[in-house]
């Protein structure tokens, strides 16, 4: 549905996006992850045709953006990052306006507006001026406006920023629902959001694509070590040495009072080995758990800028 090939955007002194290629099949909900300033918004703006690309091509529904920009635009519903609306218009009036400029046939407009209002739960503010709405409502009005012409492709740039937790849950549910009959690109830096909503994830960092796969694949493929946390009633030094000798254990970190974090290579489950060790040595086992590698780990490993910050934060925590 969306084919992006070797897309590059060069600003005066640096590449904001360099050589990004990906393909989104019809009906997929794609999560577009990356730290702030990684090039998410720039990439989305190039797909929607708002920013001209320095090089590379974009095809949406088989249409080339460079050849048929209006055709591509009419197939995309785009929700920009800071949902910009006209404060002096009423919600309904705005939706009718958007429907008209998107080319919805006149006779269908009323029905579409009704349908979209219901879907985005803004029926109770239809007659209200947009300028008087709360942030949550405004976000939903923005979303409604991107849906009103039923575009096959939705591009949503951080749709849940600035919402309260209840609203976030509702918007996510809505996006999942939309994913059934739309192809969606969802940009965000909220990781749980991606795991809940997206079937596939792209991670972009410093303008380059660094990962592409299902959340599952990314967790295991890139995150590396899982961790076993255990607490043993045992002499510190001896326990540590014994844990380090376990097959598969790559690093052991002591957290004090007999508590250890054992990093495991290759995702092996070390819990049985730790239990056997405790039994063998006659140590009392107070705690034993395995933490699966999280998407967060992958994200932090792959995105350099934040990784540095993460390490710094960890050092502070360990000190």
């Amino acid at each position: 549905m969306i084919e992006v090939e070797a897309l590059t955007k060069r600003f005066v002194d640096r590449d904001a996006v360099s050589n990004v290629s990906f393909f989104v099949p019809e009906g997929e909900v794609l999560g577009f992850l990356g730290p702030n300033g990684a090039g998410k918004t720039t990439t989305m703006r190039m797909i929607t045709g708002f920013l001209p690309a320095t090089s590379g091509s974009v095809r949406v529904a088989g249409l080339d953006l460079a050849r048929d920009p209006l055709g591509v635009r009419s197939r995309i519903g785009y929700l920009p990052e800071n949902v910009a609306l006209y404060p002096e218009m009423r919600v309904e009036e705005y939706l009718r306006f958007r429907a008209a400029i998107e080319g919805v046939p006149r006779k269908d407009v009323a029905a579409r507006v009704d349908e979209t209002c219901e879907r985005t739960m803004i029926g109770d503010v239809r007659r209200q001026l947009i300028g008087t709405l709360s942030k949550g409502y405004r976000q939903r009005v923005g979303l409604a406006a991107t849906l009103v012409h039923k575009p096959p492709v939705l591009i949503l740039d951080e749709p849940t920023v600035g919402l309260d937790p209840r609203q976030i849950v509702k918007i996510r549910e809505l996006i999942v629902e939309l994913g059934r009959d739309h192809t969606v690109i969802l940009s965000t830096h909220i990781l749980p959001e991606v795991e809940q909503v997206c079937r596939r994830v792209l991670i972009i960092d410093d303008g380059k694509l660094v990962a592409d796969g299902t959340p599952e694949q990314l967790r295991h493929g890139f995150a590396g070590a899982a961790e076993v946390v255990t607490q043993l009633d045992a002499p510190e030094g001896e326990a540590r040495a014994a844990l380090e000798k376990l097959p598969g254990a790559s690093a052991v970190r002591s957290a004090g009072s007999g508590r250890f974090h054992v990093s495991v290579e290759g995702g092996a489950d070390l819990r049985r080995a730790v239990f056997s060790l405790a039994v063998e040595k006659g140590w009392v086992l107070l705690e034993l758990s395995q933490t699966a590698p999280s998407l967060e780990d992958t994200f932090l490993r792959l995105t350099t800028r934040d990784a540095a910050e993460h390490e710094a934060a960890e050092e502070v925590a360990n000190a």
């Binding site: 920013l51 635009r73 785009y78 609306l85 002096e88 009036e93 400029i101």
Partner: protein, 246 residues
């Protein structure tokens, strides 16, 4: 077509829901009323020679120009600068409408507002008509001249509004350009050389209005206003397409 209509309609909603529109309308009415009073007083003076009273209304005084040079930038400053500032431009330019369509729609809306501004002055014509006979053709030509000036000035304002995200900057810039456009023709008197003199004379907006208010529709004036307006609108479209600096 329907898309353009929707754009124009939205723009008109924006005009008439902002307090600025009413401030401008009120100021314009007040100002024009004052000028009308001045003119009738002047004409009532027995020492004044007989002349067409509406000639004074339509560009015959400096008041007309001063106010026009101020008011058009105020009408146009918001058009694109505000869209750029708030980010609604992103929505507009990712919808299936072209930059040209957006520019034309904004231009038409601003021009409609400009016409709306002048509409009440028809009352003056009716008042004068009830006291003396009025030749309708110079009046019609005078309004045509005002409309053409509106086309030209609005196009300038739209261009400067496309160049910045700050309304005030857009207004001041438009005012500066309009002052140049207006005063360049006045240099005619200072020009040496016949070629320069006739070139500057061609651009003399005061003379244009003077001709129109005498009932003289000179196609050269029409061509000048329309073609220059076309150029500015074209530049505004290009400025809108080059969004790289945002």
């Amino acid at each position: 077509m329907r898309k353009s209509l929707a754009l124009v309609q939205r723009e008109l909603v924006a005009y008439f829901s902002s307090p600025l529109a009413y401030v401008v309308l009120t100021a314009f009415l007040f100002f024009n009323g004052y000028v009308f009073w001045l003119i009738t007083n002047f004409l009532n003076d027995p020492r004044t020679q007989a002349m067409a009273p509406l000639k004074l209304m339509f560009g015959g005084t400096i008041f007309f120009w001063l106010f026009l040079l101020f008011v058009v930038p105020v009408i146009t400053m918001r058009l694109l600068a505000e869209e750029r500032r708030t980010g609604t431009l992103e929505v507009l330019l990712t919808a299936p409408v072209s930059e040209g369509q957006v520019v034309i729609a904004k231009f038409i809306a601003a021009f409609i507002f400009y016409v709306f501004l002048w509409l009440p002055t028809v009352v003056y014509v009716i008042i004068l008509g009830s006291y003396s006979s009025i030749d309708p053709y110079p009046v019609a030509a005078g309004y045509l001249g005002i409309a053409l000036l509106g086309v030209l000035f609005t196009a300038v304002g739209l261009l400067t509004s496309a160049l910045t995200r700050n309304q005030i900057v857009a207004a001041i810039f438009a005012f500066a350009v309009l002052v140049v456009l207006f005063s360049i023709g006045l240099l005619e008197q200072l020009a040496t050389g016949p070629a320069l003199k006739s070139a500057l004379g061609y651009m003399n907006l005061w003379d244009h209005m003077d001709d129109f208010s005498r009932g003289l529709v000179d196609t050269r004036h029409v061509v000048y206003d329309i073609s220059l307006a076309g150029l500015f609108l074209f530049l505004a479209t290009k400025a809108l397409a080059a969004k790289k600096w945002r």
